[in-house]
């Protein structure tokens, strides 16, 4: 069954465009999407995800499994980095371990929307408010990562590298992707509440266009991800194994939490995908600023070069299979 799910997933436009981008790098085609076009797509996607999430949050009346789900999501984004940190410490120093751990505690918005597309292809319902969970998982992971450095790092860190609390909060809450996502969420919420005609007028932009832009962006992500692979090879087999097995492990924890939360299969998959995915946007930029001792190539090549493709291509259908197995449909 999983193979048929994988096949269905692979034969959807976003994943096919991802492959097209990756293949371009493999075949040394000169296809490129010059800067700042990828930035345009990523700004658009964050704005649209946030806005749509805000609408649905409003429509959900903030009721049902919303609050426990969000609390569980925050909990996961605190727990996962700690688990990751101890595993990574087996081979890596404190700085690299903390930075990678933070990335895996956080989320990848594009993995999330790929999972949403997958669900709507399978006609499995899910709640838009899951976007709120997504938005809430970015900052805690960053904070845990920085705390790990503070607690486990060398005491003789030069003075200018001693982090101040304010800086940590600033990096974790106000870095552009978190800020735009949360802001758009709020705007979507307010618009749905006070200005329903505004929702209709936004729909062609944030709604109809979304899938196409997603494909365009995934074309670029295919290029970018494959260009990270050489760095991953240099990083060694420990990190390669980590980048594939850690998401699955995190997904498994996620499934049991989802089950405990009594989520339906759609929401459960999204929750699991949030746990399994790793950040290559907000967290890396925050780490770059606050823990320059960590090797950027480590946390980028693992998250972007391997975990991201793994999740969107075969992870999502595998997680769906697991969800179907562990969470009976009567839910």
């Amino acid at each position: 069954m999983n193979t048929s799910l994988i096949l269905e997933n692979v034969l959807s436009p976003p994943i096919l465009f991802f492959f097209l981008g990756a293949l371009a790098v493999l075949l040394k085609s000169d296809l490129e999407i010059p800067a700042p076009l990828p930035k345009l797509f990523s700004l658009y996607l964050l704005l649209a995800i946030g806005f749509k999430g805000g609408l649905e949050l409003q429509n959900s009346n903030l009721s049902g499994p919303l609050v426990p789900t969000i609390l569980a999501a925050i909990f996961m984004s605190l727990l996962i980095p700690i688990i990751c940190f101890f595993i990574l410490r087996l081979k890596l120093n404190v700085f690299n371990s903390a930075a990678i751990a933070a990335a895996y505690g956080s989320i990848s918005a594009v993995t999330f929307i790929t999972a949403e597309s997958f669900l709507s292809n399978q006609n499995i319902p899910f709640d838009g408010f899951m976007v709120a969970a997504l938005a809430m998982m970015e900052s805690p992971a960053i904070i845990v990562g920085l705390l790990l450095v503070k607690v486990a790092g060398p005491k003789e860190r030069p003075k200018e590298r001693q982090m101040k609390w304010l800086e940590i909060l600033h990096e974790s809450l106000l870095n552009s992707s978190v800020y735009l996502l949360l802001g758009s969420l709020l705007i979507g919420f307010l618009t749905a509440a006070f200005n329903p005609s505004g929702v209709t007028k936004m729909q062609p932009f944030t709604g109809s266009l979304f899938y196409g832009v997603e494909c365009f962006f995934l074309l670029d992500m295919g290029i970018v991800a494959l260009q990270r692979l050489p760095a991953l090879k240099k990083a060694g087999s420990f990190l390669i194994a980590f980048a594939v097995f850690m998401p699955v492990f995190n997904a498994l924890i996620g499934i049991f939490v989802a089950k405990a939360l009594n989520l339906g299969p759609g929401n459960a998959l999204l929750f699991v995908v949030l746990c399994a995915s790793a950040s290559y946007l907000a967290v890396p930029t925050a780490m770059r600023m606050t823990v320059p001792e960590a090797k950027a190539s480590f946390y980028i090549s693992t998250t972007l070069g391997l975990t991201f493709p793994f999740n969107i291509v075969i992870g999502i259908p595998i997680y769906m299979g697991l969800v179907n197995h562990f969470i009976p449909i009567t839910n």
Partner: protein, 93 residues
């Protein structure tokens, strides 16, 4: 007259410019979206969308004294985050 070329990650641009201003430079020029490789890291265009991948190239024409004020201010930043600084001779047209 001296010419100073500073190359470093765009994320440190505000900090570096503050240093230059506090050293009372007569002016400066900024080229963003620059990429490259240093002794350790490759900075590549394809990661620019993440707020990650680009350097800034800052160019300052100033006299010797100003240059002496700049050095101690920008060097710690370049040492901390990476980046290079080179000077050469120049004269006004």
């Amino acid at each position: 007259m001296k010419r100073l070329d500073l190359i470093f990650s765009e994320r440190e641009l505000d900090q570096i410019i503050k240093c230059l201003e506090s050293a009372d430079v007569p002016g400066y020029t900024v080229m963003k979206h620059v990429t490259g490789r240093g002794p350790e890291r490759i900075v590549s265009e394809d990661m620019e969308f993440t707020g990650f991948g680009a350097n800034a190239h800052v160019l300052v024409f100033c006299n010797e004294e100003t240059l002496k004020r700049i050095g101690p201010k920008v060097k710690p930043i370049l040492n901390y985050y990476g980046g290079v600084a080179y000077t050469s001779e120049a004269s006004s047209l």
